[in-house]
Amino acid sequence: MIKFRLNSEDVSFEGDTGTPLLWVIRDHLKMTGTKYGCGIGLCGSCTVHVDGEAMRSCVVPVAEIAARSVTTIEGLAEGAELHPVQQAWMEIDVPQCGFCQPGMIMEVADFLERHPDPSDEDINKNITNICRCGTYPRVRNAIHRAAAIREANE
């Protein structure tokens, strides 16, 4: 049995420990905000935080998650208070179909921890999630906006 924390709650999984974290979260723990897009870690729709760091959950066997702490899009906001990235996403109205956006938001939330005042070049080098609708111009604006919200909060 694999035990870990999911959005601050203790959870466990009994089954094939080679199962990717993505499917454990979606099928077994019934948390569907994290999406399946490619299964090989290329599109980023499945991005979650593991011990605070962005990971593509479709290529992480659940065995590697034992005793660690996972945050999904459902756990990003602190109660009713949206995370700055979510706030910026709302302000700029980023999503089109919305399918990639949970993973995109989780990726950006982690990115801003490491690049609190990112340049466009920083964004280009680090943000590789695929948005098939092409929301990239608004994603870029919203990243800068989220950075500003974070700074104002400090």
């Binding site: 569907t32 905000g33 994290t34 999904t72 949206l82 179909c97 399918f99």
Partner: protein, 743 residues
């Protein structure tokens, strides 16, 4: 592609009533054409005014990111005259009811495609709101004992002019419900008086999306649900010989394995391939079970198909005259006698839709009814698909279509609904069928590929006097039932597109090249291909006759005037609107400014499905052939922009889709199999390739809207390759651009 047109008859338009909870509901009775509806009063929900003043507006159309779920309710709210902040939007399921002559829509026609979602609902949604508002005015007038003409509304309130009395809508619920529905002409607002429409409104679903609450089809969870995947035949039109399931049966969680019967080669069909279904207790177990299958496939009649052969055949076909599908004037003599003759060929590949949410469908077939939850642009098609598999009456098939993770034309076809229904019927279980990304890229209805030969005759003054477009391609109409071979061209060439009625001697010819690759509609069908070819060729003409590409376009598009246009998006085409957009983007990008070596600007403009778009793109190309998109100016004329926020999003998204596809996407075939499978070999564009200098402009025109989902895409590839030519002198005549610039 569009849904059956909705016929709104005034008398039977809206009905209203109240609920036990004290809400006022406005709906429509089942509507259809030529049906006797007098005895069907079953309400199709549309507007609910709650006792606490909250307004619920039903959204009847599929939402796949184009913004329909926000834009259409805006129109209802505008005419109803309510505060947009008090409106919630509730998705409605497929509503069809049986009538004496077939089926009728309960909530109006439901289905999106061809950029028609807004235009086909524009009058309807406004009428719903206006009718509901009138009912409230009459209720208030009756209470106050004044004539309705003495009353008007301001947001959420009926006001009596004479008495100065104000009554909130929610206080009129019971009286409005008891009144007979007012049956008279309802004048609609002039757009200049709009408070909600015409203003940028954020997506009503944004908060659920950013917090992960949105349920897409693939997020469906039902009690007792089992998970299924299918191993589909990798050979185009191949079939299943035999399979060994012994290892797969040993995978923990695998419950059942069985054959899925595929379509007959060349016949119109409901699903794409033969296969073996694996049903399990989880998606992962099903995928593991599938990996463990040992399958012997019959390669079938298309085993020899390859991209190399396809392109060779296309080239040979183009050496011969094709089926002449349009012959204005006398092309042959005008071309032969022209001062200058130009001929070039352009190749456009197959591409996949690759929506980010792979295909999936929940199906639960029972003895007397069936539930379907599917990401579909055509829910009525899903209903027909499930009915065909189960033989159940369609009114017993309940179809829900949650928010869709992208469509681009892929979800016009409900093959995955057929598959899921087959699996549920076979097992008796509620089934979630999940496609992998590899399934999606390998089993698509791809954009048709083709080779285009363009010829132009130019007179001594530089005027185009003869124009020919000879196309050899794989028509997407090949699988239409009862489609005669001589009509296959109709999905690939639209006769009234530019330069019809502008160049006098005009000829269009077609060769159909049959190949086993399935084809379908891909965002801006045919337009996305032909705009690249035509707008590239214009630049080549300009270059070879010493003309400026901008001035040549201005001269050709000319003044504002309505030309007859019989294809989808008509009845008229006004090329002057392209002139306006082209001049605008050229000015914004400072077209005439001298640029450093290796930099260049390209222009293109196109009319698609009633809307107009133009792009100016600046690129730089290094000595090593590295391409950088420096700047993009995109402009759209979609008539009246109902929700500029959503129009702008589609302008950005359509532009980026065009860039991504032109830069690096191609589906190829070898030994009768699709060679690509996932984002490593089908590399969808990432943010790094999209310049920060990216501006979008909406140029308004009149007071009726056109759709916007497809309009922005077609000019993009040509603006890009024209820019590359301006920067380097190298003309791209084969898409995708790929590594062609690396000398």
């Amino acid at each position: 592609m569009s849904a059956r047109p909705l016929e709104v008859t005034r008398r039977q338009f809206l009905i209203c009533g109240s609920t036990a909870a004290g809400s006022l509901i406005f709906g429509i009775p089942a509507m259809g054409q030529g049906s006797d509806l007098s005895d069907d009063r079953r309400l199709g929900f549309f507007v609910e005014i709650r006792a606490d003043g909250e307004i619920i507006i039903g959204s009847n159309q599929p939402e796949l990111g184009q913004g329909e779920r926000t834009t259409l309710p805006m129109l209802v709210a505008e005419e109803l005259d309510v505060d947009w902040a008090r409106v919630s939007v509730l998705p409605m399921p497929l509503g069809i009811v049986k009538t004496s002559d077939g089926f009728a829509w309960k909530y109006g026609g439901q289905g999106v495609g061809g950029s028609t979602g807004l235009t086909s609902n524009w009058d309807f949604m406004r009428q719903v709101g206006a009718r509901a508002r009138l009912q409230l005015i009459h209720a208030a007038a009756a209470r106050l004992n004044v004539t309705p003409e003495n009353c008007y509304t301001k947001p959420g309130v009926v006001v009596c002019k004479a008495l100065g009395t104000e009554i909130p809508y929610e206080d009129l619920v019971s009286e409005a419900a008891q009144l007979d529905l007012i049956d008279e002409d309802v004048p609609l607002k002039e757009t200049q008086h709009y408070r909600i429409a015409g203003k940028a409104q954020s997506s009503v679903d944004a908060i659920d999306i950013v917090t992960g609450k949105t349920r897409f089809g693939s997020d469906t969870q039902k009690p007792g649900m089992r998970y299924a995947v299918i191993a589909r035949c990798p050979h185009l039109n191949g079939s299943l010989r035999s399979f060994d399931e012994s290892a797969a049966r040993k995978i923990d969680g695998v419950l059942d394995i069985f054959e899925i019967q595929g379509p007959a080669p060349g016949e119109p069909y409901q699903i794409l391939a033969s296969g073996v279904a694996v049903v399990a207790t989880s998606t992962w177990a099903a995928l593991q079970g599938r990996n463990a299958l040992v399958i012997d496939w019959e390669p079938g009649p298309n085993a020899g198909d390859s991209s190399d052969l396809f392109w060779k055949q296309n080239a040979e076909m183009l050496d011969r005259e094709g089926q002449v599908v349009l012959d204005d004037g006398d092309f042959v003599s005008a071309f032969e006698n022209a001062h200058h003759q130009i001929t070039h060929r352009y190749a456009v590949p197959f591409v996949s839709h690759a929506p980010l949410e792979p295909q999936n469908c929940y199906a639960y077939v029972r003895e007397d009814h069936c539930d379907i939850v599917a990401p579909t642009q055509m829910p009525s098609g899903a209903s027909r698909a499930a009915a065909a598999v189960t033989s159940l009456p369609r009114e017993n098939i309940h179809v829900e279509f949650p928010r869709i993770g992208g469509g681009f034309g892929r979800r016009l076809t409900n093959d995955y609904v057929t598959e899921a229904t087959m699996i549920s019927k076979q097992t008796g279980w509620p089934i979630m069928l999940q496609w992998s990304r590899e399934d999606d890229i390998r089993h698509d209805f791809y954009r048709p590929a083709g080779l285009h030969e363009m010829r132009a005759g130019i007179d001594a003054q530089g005027k185009i006097v003869a124009w020919s477009h000879r196309l050899a391609s794989a028509s997407k109409y090949y699988r239409r039932p009862d489609m005669p071979a001589e009509n296959l061209w109709q999905s690939e060439l639209y006769v009234d597109d530019f330069p019809r009625r502008i160049v006098e001697n005009l000829r269009l010819e077609y060769h159909h090249n049959a190949i086993g690759v399935p084809r379908g509609s891909w965002r801006g069908p045919a337009h996305n291909v032909n705009a690249w070819v035509v707008q590239s060729f214009l630049d080549e003409i300009a270059d070879e006759t010493g003309q400026d590409p901008l001035q040549l376009r201005i001269d050709l598009f000319g003044e504002e005037r309505e030309l007859e246009y019989s294809n989808h998006g008509g009845p008229t085409f006004n090329p002057g609107r392209l002139t306006r957009l082209t001049k605008f983007v050229a000015e914004r990008i400072d077209y005439h400014r001298r640029r450093p070596n290796g930099h260049g600007v390209g222009l293109a403009a196109h009319f698609t499905f009633g809307g107009y778009a133009a792009h100016a793109i600046e690129v730089s190309v290094s000595d090593q052939g590295n391409l950088t998109i420096e700047r993009i100016v995109a402009a759209i004329d979609c008539g009246f922009a109902v929700n500029p926020m959503a129009v702008d999003a589609q302008l950005q998204g359509g532009t980026i889709d065009g860039l991504s596809t032109a830069l690096g996407l191609e589906i190829t075939v070898k030994d009768g199999q699709i060679q690509q499978s996932n984002f490593h070999d089908y590399p969808w564009l990432r943010i790094a390739s999209v310049p920060a200098l990216f501006e979008t402009h909406i140029l308004p025109w009149g007071d009726t809207p056109t759709g916007v989902g497809e309009i922005a895409l077609p000019p993009v590839a040509a603006a890009l390759t024209n820019a590359i030519f301006a920067a380097t002198g190298k003309r791209i005549r084969r898409l995708p651009i790929g590594k062609q610039l690396r000398a």
